[in-house]
């Protein structure tokens, strides 16, 4: 089967993710968008790993999954923190410091 399908899927996911990061005002949504990007990366890696027939890609993917989990943990904690202080998780309100 063609690798291109996988890559295409990855690219699409990546773009959706990026769009989400840029467009979404809700912190959680942005987090999820980032997860999308990471997953697109995983797809790429696995596909390539298959293509080159070595485990590097798989290993990489495993690491990414693990790290992503940690990241999300931290991220959600932070969202909670902000929600506790501001009763809102809209990113637009996070513009106290500028210039």
């Amino acid at each position: 089967m063609l690798i291109n399908n996988f890559l295409l899927l990855g690219a699409v996911l990546f773009c959706i993710g990026v769009y989400g990061v840029i467009a979404r005002k809700n912190a959680v949504m942005v987090l999820m968008s980032i997860e999308l990007i990471l997953n697109s990366v995983n797809i790429n890696l696995l596909a390539f790993s298959q293509l080159h027939d070595n485990v590097d890609g798989n290993t990489f993917a495993l690491y990414i999954i693990a790290v992503a989990a940690a990241e999300v943990g931290v991220g959600l904690a932070m969202v909670l923190l902000i929600y506790r202080n501001r009763k809102s998780i809209s990113l637009d309100e996070l513009s106290e410091m500028k210039g």
Binding site: V30, D92, S95, K98
Partner: protein, 775 residues
């Protein structure tokens, strides 16, 4: 250089360089401990001058021997003939041209060297140098003696003598300069001293301004000196005057270079010798004490310019090729000529006696320049010689008068008159000198000035021949006027013992003698000057008092002769004013001066041929002199004459007496006629016009140079410097930077999404571009 000369020359010639060194050392001593000495340092000054004088005499003597040795005529008693040339004068003139060139005594020591160029110090002793050495040391000595009395008790007595001494040192150093650099050295030192001396009473704005003006104007000329010397060095590769002369005489030398050098150097002479149009500083410089005027502005400093031309004559001679183009003109002659006339005209409308003398000096310097310009080297230099004595004498007379008679005023109209009987010696000295100045036959001035005029004709400079004659006429005119105002008529103002001058004014106005010099510009300046002198009068007032006391005279009122210290120099100078001419009295075929001073035609000096004297040729000038005298005397009689006093009385009585009234009135009309028609109608407008031009145009230019400089300075500073360079370039860029900084800040919106957008946007664009580029 020229080592073989040294054995030949005698001790004095070998050690002539001591002459300037002595006063220089003396200066240091005076500055150092002058104040502690019994006579406040004046003795050191005079002693040094005497020492120099002795050396100078010795040098002269040995030089004359040297010349005679070369020229075969016997050397003993040469000194005697040197000074009293007429003693055994009737020696037939030596054969033309055939005489060999007398090697000057040249010694030079390396002073410092830079990049292979040697700057030396040394002496270049030839006739010209010897003559001036003698002259300067002699005059300086007399002037210092005169000053002993004149500035006694002055608050800066010591400084005064220090400056005088240093001044003489500078002049002497310049006179025997072996190279142009040394010449500049002496030249500039003189400039400095003139600044200090003219501004001696600097408490008064006017004086310090005059000092500033003098120094600055001269300095403008010095620029020419620097450039000229640079050109000469650059082109000839030497500073040595002899070398320069030799190369200048060398036909192979490019004439353009010489021309440029000559022009540049001549600018310096214009500044220094008060030639038109830079002469305006000289009259102002009269703000200085009278001895200063008599030393600087009659016989030494101002002739420096003439000396420079005479010294580097080959450069000018070939630069302007004076010999070749016969009856045409050249820069030196033109400037000289103009100066003669202009200055003489101005001298006619002055009320300040010193200003008359100042302008007369300018005019005489004009003669010297013109003489050099028309190729009459020897007469011109001879004129320096004679002029020094009588002009110095005149100045000292003025000083003696103001010191003793007119209580430190120099206004002839207001504060003098009728001094003939009171100050016989002063008057006598004055008369003699005046006659000499006017060029009356058998007085020294005649022999020099007439020679100049004569040679101008002979060398084919017709125009300048005429100019010379006119000058002679005018000279007599203004000198007669001055003499009359000072010594004849009735005592006025301070001379009559009055302290304040209102009466003088009143008197004149009553008589309607709104005479020359009382119209706007003249009056303005004379008034101005008057303040100046009143002020310094105030300054050494106590000095004046105690010397009056010491001579047991009343402070004011009917005055007698000045104290001996003042009179002695007058006598000496007066005597010389008569006899000094006989060293080179063409009419009697005495041409010692020519023999001793003039360098013979050689590779170092151009051939100068001389007009042979004949009374016929001398006649025009003699006649004109006479005319000038008569003309001027008539006016003076009419305007300021005895009639006035009678008139005064009569007009008072005219109120009661009807008889004779008409007659008096008519008489009065007569005065009126003289006054209005002749003076106002003829002499006055011209003179005034000249004066106006002088004050407003030329002087204006000189001042405008300063003022304009200031203005340009301010403008440049304000707009270019602070505005453009500093404002735009420097501070502007700073502002720009901050501005951009400000413009960039909105980018930092604080919004996460925008940050993200920018982040990815930049990445994407970068990627896109690079992908496209690299595929």
């Amino acid at each position: 250089m020229l080592a073989h000369e040294h054995e030949a020359a005698g001790w004095f010639l070998e050690h002539a360089w001591l002459i300037p060194v002595i006063p220089a050392v003396a200066f240091a001593i005076i500055i150092g401990f002058g104040k502690k000495l019994p006579m406040k340092g004046s003795e050191i000054g005079i002693a040094s001058m005497l020492a120099s004088l002795v050396l100078a005499v010795g040098t002269t003597w040995q030089w004359i021997q040297r010349v005679d040795a070369v020229h075969g005529s016997e050397g003993e008693g040469a000194l005697a003939r040197g000074v009293f040339g007429f003693a055994r004068g009737l020696v037939p003139r030596a054969a033309e041209g055939g005489e060999p060139y007398v090697e000057p005594v040249i010694r030079s020591w390396t002073w410092w060297q830079s990049g292979g160029i040697e700057f030396g110090l040394g002496q270049h002793i030839d006739g010209l140098a010897v003559m001036l050495l003698l002259l300067v040391t002699f005059i300086s000595t007399l002037v210092q003696v005169f000053s002993l009395e004149y500035v006694r008790g002055d608050r800066r007595y010591t400084h005064f003598f220090a400056s005088l001494t240093l001044f003489s040192a500078g002049m002497l150093a310049m006179v025997l300069a072996e190279n142009t650099v040394q010449l500049i050295l002496g030249w500039e030192i003189m400039g400095l001293c003139s600044f200090m001396l003219i501004g001696h009473w600097w408490e008064e704005q006017a004086n310090s301004r005059a000092a500033l003006k003098a120094f600055f104007t001269v300095r403008v000329g010095d620029m020419g000196l620097l450039v000229g010397v640079a050109i000469l060095f650059g082109a000839f590769g030497t500073f040595s005057i002899q070398e320069t002369s030799r190369i200048a005489m060398d036909p192979a030398t490019s004439q353009t270079v010489l021309l440029w050098a000559a022009v540049a150097l001549f600018i310096a002479c214009i500044g220094k010798s008060g030639q038109f149009p830079l002469h305006t500083w000289l009259p102002d410089a009269m703000a200085g004490p009278t001895p200063v005027s008599s030393l600087l502005h009659s016989s030494t400093m101002v002739v420096a310019g003439v000396f420079l031309v005479a010294r580097l004559y080959p450069v000018f001679y070939n630069g302007f090729d004076i010999a070749q183009n016969g009856n045409s003109a050249n820069l030196i002659a033109i400037i000289g000529g103009i100066t003669i006339v202009i200055a003489a005209g101005l001298a006619f409308v002055q009320n300040d006696i010193k200003k008359v003398l100042a302008y007369s000096t300018v005019s005489q310097l004009g003669y010297m320049m013109m003489g050099l310009g028309v190729g009459a080297w020897t007469p011109a230099v001879f004129h320096i010689f004679t002029h020094a004595f009588f002009k110095c004498c005149l100045f000292l007379c003025a000083g003696s008068i103001s010191h003793t008679a007119s209580h430190h005023s120099f206004d002839m109209k207001k504060d003098m008159g009728g001094l003939l009987r009171r100050m016989p010696i002063t008057a006598g000295a004055w008369m003699v000198s005046t006659l000499a100045l006017c060029g009356v036959p058998f007085f020294s001035g005649f022999f020099s000035k007439d020679e100049i005029i004569d040679n101008a004709d002979h060398n084919g400079y017709k125009v300048f021949f005429i100019v010379g004659l006119i000058g002679a006429f005018m000279t007599t005119a203004y000198m007669t006027r001055a003499t009359y105002l000072t010594f004849f008529g009735k005592p006025r103002g301070a001379a009559a013992g009055e302290h304040h001058h209102d009466e003088a004014h009143a008197e004149e106005h009553e008589l309607g003698l709104a005479t020359v010099g009382h119209d706007e510009p003249a009056d303005h300046t004379s008034h101005h000057e008057h303040e100046a002198h009143a002020a310094h009068g105030a300054h050494d007032a106590h000095g004046a008092h105690d010397d009056h006391a010491s001579h047991g005279k009343p402070a004011f009122g009917i005055v007698g002769e000045s104290p001996i210290l003042l009179v002695f120099p007058l006598i000496v100078l007066g005597f010389l004013a008569v006899v000094s001419g006989y060293i080179n009295a063409a009419p009697f075929h005495i041409e010692k001066f020519l023999e001793w001073v003039e360098p013979r035609a050689s590779e170092f000096a151009p051939a100068i041929d001389h007009a042979t004297f004949s009374w016929a040729k001398a006649m025009p000038s003699i006649v004109l002199v006479a005319l000038g005298f008569v003309f001027s005397l008539l006016i003076c009689k009419a305007v300021f004459g005895e009639a006035d006093s009678k008139l005064k009385g009569l007009t008072q009585r005219s109120k009661v007496l009807g008889a004779g009234h008409r007659f008096l009135v008519n008489k009065y009309y007569l005065d009126d006629l003289y006054e209005k028609v002749i003076v106002h109608g003829v002499a006055h407008p011209i003179a005034q016009a000249a004066y106006w031009i002088n004050q407003n145009v030329l002087d204006g230019i000189v001042n405008a140079f300063g003022k304009g400089g200031r203005r340009t300075g301010e403008w440049v500073y304000k707009y270019v410097d602070q505005g453009a360079i500093d404002g735009l370039a420097v501070n502007g860029s700073g502002k720009a930077a901050r501005g951009t900084g400000g413009a960039l800040r909105p980018l930092q919106s604080g919004k996460v999404n925008q940050y993200g957008a920018l982040l990815f946007g930049a990445a994407a664009i970068g990627a896109l571009v690079l992908v496209i580029v690299n595929i």
